[in-house]
Symmetry: C2
Subunit: 156 residues, 2 copies
Amino acid sequence: MEIEEMSENECLALLERSTIGRLGCSLEDQPYVLPVYFACEARHIYVLSTLGQKIKWMRANPKVCMEIDEIASQSQWESIVLNGRYRELSEPLDEVEVSRARKLLGTRHRWWINALAERRTQTDDLSIAPLFFSIDIESMTGLRAIAREESGASPK
Amino acid sequence: MEIEEMSENECLALLERSTIGRLGCSLEDQPYVLPVYFACEARHIYVLSTLGQKIKWMRANPKVCMEIDEIASQSQWESIVLNGRYRELSEPLDEVEVSRARKLLGTRHRWWINALAERRTQTDDLSIAPLFFSIDIESMTGLRAIAREESGASPK
């Protein structure tokens, strides 16, 4: 197996075809990681959420990290780690961007069912409006592993 | 789709059959998330690593979060989020535990190849010793989504 760095364009291509990532935020140096469905366009990662711990934490500390990967096997995978900033979208101020995020997410996910179901476990209030946010990418690095013929080394 | 909480035993069962998780650490409230191969036994999550950013950060701030999931589809998945503390294992002090971690990881992963390959991208020094650490679980919660017949709601 060989590991090589991915170019910026290769990272963006993986982001654009991916639908799930692991989002990390932190508050008072306690990290918090959770899976999110997303859509990416022009270095913005759009996520639909309802109000919960992650939103409260990212409002308090907008520095976030996200990991996105495609793992075919232990010796064949791609993984991106990116740093970005949380930016909450609100209507009518961000109406155009919310509309775009809604369209991007709607074509790829059954996101409305997931979000409502998630919320339903915590409250009976089904009228809670969904909340869109963007992770604006500031930097990212990607690594790719490629399977090669191995010489059969084994652990001690 | 319905979402329900997983019991402690269901969380532990998922941890014991999983091999990959997303580890989050943070330093000065900058989160960092990356995938790790692991093995879990008795509320300890064992990971093999070489020295890098994550080790330096966890030495400085041992509070970590880990997310582990099995995603069959968007409406059928299990996901655990756990908080724990980073604890570095060293020989000869932790010899018994290192030996156990080596055995647990060795039977499930080609971990030695991955770790060396990762290191090889950064340095020509192949003699760098692998480093084992444990995430000692302090708390965890799990959610499970179960597909049900839907009434065909669609996004606006």
